[in-house]
């Protein structure tokens, strides 16, 4: 399976014998997460048979939609060795606010969609400019831009919302083949990104840079261009998430994007994307985000109050990464 995991091996040149020991680890993570998910579903189904219903599927998939797209964007950043983009919350709301603003003024939806994506891409490129020319760590840069962007947005608007009585908002709450309209673009994106990354030149460059950037540079890959490409594309993806977010959410305040930050980071890490770069499979995001999106719903079915849900969500994440880490450790031995 030519996924990103194997690509990282050829790029990093650290462990030439790694193919056989590393290849299963992508599968190992998939197996762990899939097993956890299945256990969760079965346990919930046994406790309450009506858990296995269309309503539950809808609830979970609505949550998956936005988180999944953001996770793809975050995974690209992580795999390229830029660790984390902490400015996703601001970029998401920025794009969504622009979308809402344009729709209010009657701009047609296709134009609005392009605008949303471009806004996201512009944000990503702005981050990349600071990172590349300042030679600064992406974590601190995106932390700062998130802060600054959020504060600037709050001065301009405190709440925004796409027009409710529009085809756009209808799209956000209706279904296609029994699943939410907004869920399908997420799946398409995951499949497409997962397919393209190891197979295109840019994707392979990105992973090479993430795995060992000095070796990549030695091979003639431009670090600068790669960084700009990664943040630009990742930003465009966040912009797309912003469009779907605006379609499916009510009034949103500038700071509210932060509710997605923890689920996205958790989803990315649980998908086996190494934040140090060079490793990870985007397709696994479907599993990890799916699992993590099912947890809150399950907990409600088990009768836990919201506060207890938070406690168990946190514990489940700890256990999940502990199991994953243990499995990876055993493989290394």
């Amino acid at each position: 399976m030519t996924d990103a995991t194997t690509m990282a091996q050829s790029a990093s040149m650290k462990q030439p014998e790694g193919l056989r020991t590393k290849l299963p680890s992508g599968w190992g993570t998939a197996a762990t997460v899939a097993a956890a998910w299945i256990v969760l579903i079965v346990a919930s189904g046994i406790h309450r048979p009506d858990f296995l219903s269309h309503q539950t599927v809808l609830a979970v998939s609505f949550t998956m939609a936005i988180v999944g797209i953001l996770a793809v964007a975050q995974a690209l950043v992580g795999m390229s060795g830029a660790i984390l983009d902490l400015s996703q919350p601001t970029a998401l709301i920025l794009s969504a606010a622009v979308v809402a603003w344009l729709l209010e003024r009657g701009v047609p939806v296709p134009v609005v969609a392009i605008a949303g994506i471009l806004v996201g891409a512009a944000w990503g490129l702005a981050n990349a400019t600071i990172i590349v020319f300042g030679k600064l760590n992406p974590i601190i840069v995106t932390l700062a831009t998130n802060f600054i962007g959020g504060a600037v947005m709050f001065l301009i608007f405190q709440n925004a919302q796409a027009p409710l009585k529009s085809g756009f908002s209808d799209f956000g709450r209706t279904y296609f083949l029994g699943l939410p309209n907004i869920w399908w673009p997420m799946v398409a994106l995951v499949l497409l990104a997962g397919y393209l990354v190891p197979r295109t030149r840019y994707g392979r460059h990105m992973i090479a840079v993430g795995g060992n950037r000095f070796a990549a540079q030695a091979r003639g890959i431009s670090l600068r261009k790669t960084r700009f490409a990664v943040f630009g594309i990742s930003g465009a993806i966040v912009g797309a998430a912003g469009i779907l977010f605006a379609a499916s959410n009510g009034p949103f305040a500038p700071a509210v994007g932060s509710t997605y930050q923890l689920p996205v980071i958790a989803g990315v890490i649980l998908a086996g994307v190494s934040l140090a770069g060079g490793r990870g499979s985007i397709w696994l995001i479907l599993l990890s985000v799916g699992f993590l999106s099912t947890v809150p719903t399950s907990l409600v079915f088990f009768g836990f109050s919201s506060n207890w849900q938070a406690v168990f969500q946190g514990l489940i994440l700890i256990v999940a990464v502990a199991i994953d880490g243990f499995r990876a450790k055993r493989l290394q031995r």
Partner: protein, 351 residues
């Protein structure tokens, strides 16, 4: 590297001293100085607007004005109190979303002999300006109950409560109050039909939480929604719409944030306006103008017997259609004659 540090310090010290001496200024006899600590929670436009209105009214009176943000954080609220005291303000308006620390603030301000007006959250020794949140909650719950009685004979399948535990006691009053009001009109709704979830008072957070709750109650068709504020209630309404369960869902909000304009959710039957952004008019009229004139009124710190009572204004969605949005309300308020409140200007039916 240490040499460089020492050298840097050596060169900077005379510069610092020079600047320190050059920067000393003494101003003329100071005008009345008003300090305001805004709530600082980025959820809501009225929190920022509260500061804007206070600033404008202070400017109209030719006062000095110092605004700080409590950032929804107790340590920051304490720091702000010290800053106000150091800044020698003559009076302070507090919107402190973390009232657990109010006793400490009260002690500090009392020692500095600075009178304090508090919005909505009572503290012994602070002038209370605001609504009785519990009464407002009950009023909203009763209004919703009347609808449930008329439509469903007081037999909903589910009563959702969108809580905002971060708001502390205000959440208990408003959301709990709405349940109390509902129970007054429809006392026979069984307790297990009341389900609470944490929505943080925001539609975006309320939405997924309500989705899960609705999925866990797949047979509920007739649904009532109460909550901390309009945003929290809206999230639940949208969740029902997304799950295709919105045929018989009715919500009643609090604070009127999202019931004006032409983008109102059709399932939001009404809300309760407090016109939070305009509180400063009450504060000035009944407390601070008097302090500035040299005759401070008696301290009334209880919500039941307040220094200045703000009237809540329950409205149905139809009535709310005539009320302008926050920005327009603020503009109109600042142009109105002194002492006119937003309740006077905008509440459709006054009691």
């Amino acid at each position: 590297m240490r040499m460089t540090l020492r050298r840097t310090l050596a060169t900077m010290t005379p510069v610092l001293l020079a600047l320190a001496m050059a920067g000393a200024t003494t101003g003329p006899a100071a005008a009345f100085k008003l300090g305001m600590a805004v709530g600082g929670d980025t959820c809501c436009d009225w929190m920022k607007a509260q500061g804007d209105v206070a600033a404008a009214l202070a400017k109209q009176r030719g006062w000095d004005y110092m605004e700080l943000s409590n950032n929804a954080d107790a340590a920051t609220a304490t720091k702000n109190a010290d800053l106000f005291i150091q800044g020698k303000v003559d009076a302070v308006i507090e919107f402190n979303g973390q009232p657990s620390v109010n006793p400490v603030l009260a002690a500090k301000f009392a020692a500095a002999k600075i009178p304090v007006v508090t919005y909505d959250i009572s503290q012994k020794g602070f002038y209370f300006v605001g609504i009785d949140n519990l009464a407002a909650g009950i009023a909203g719950g009763q209004a919703l109950g009347e609808i449930a009685k008329a439509k469903w004979n007081c037999q909903p399948d589910l009563v959702l409560s969108s809580e905002g535990a971060g708001a502390g006691i205000v959440n208990t009053w408003r959301t709990g109050g709405m349940r109390t009001g509902l129970q007054k009109v429809c006392p026979d709704i069984p307790a297990d039909k009341y389900i609470s979830f944490e929505g943080n008072g925001q539609a975006v957070v309320s939405l997924p939480a309500a989705r899960d709750v609705l999925a866990a109650h797949p047979d509920a068709k007739k649904i009532l929604v109460v909550g901390l504020n309009d945003g929290g209630v809206l999230g639940a309404l949208q969740a029902a719409e997304q799950l295709g369960r919105a045929d018989d869902i009715i919500g009643w909000g609090q604070d009127g944030s999202f019931i004006t304009g032409n983008n109102v959710d059709p399932h939001l039957a009404g809300s309760v306006f407090y016109f939070l952004e305009g509180y400063a008019v009450y504060a000035m009229r009944d407390v601070i103008d008097k302090i500035a004139a040299g005759s401070p009124p008696a301290v009334k710190d209880d919500a039941g017997d307040p220094a200045s009572r703000v009237q809540p204004c329950p409205v149905s969605a139809a009535e709310a259609a005539k009320i302008p949005g926050t920005a327009d309300r603020v503009a109109a308020l600042l142009k109105a004659p002194a002492g006119t409140t937003e309740y006077d200007l905008f509440c459709p039916k006054k009691s």
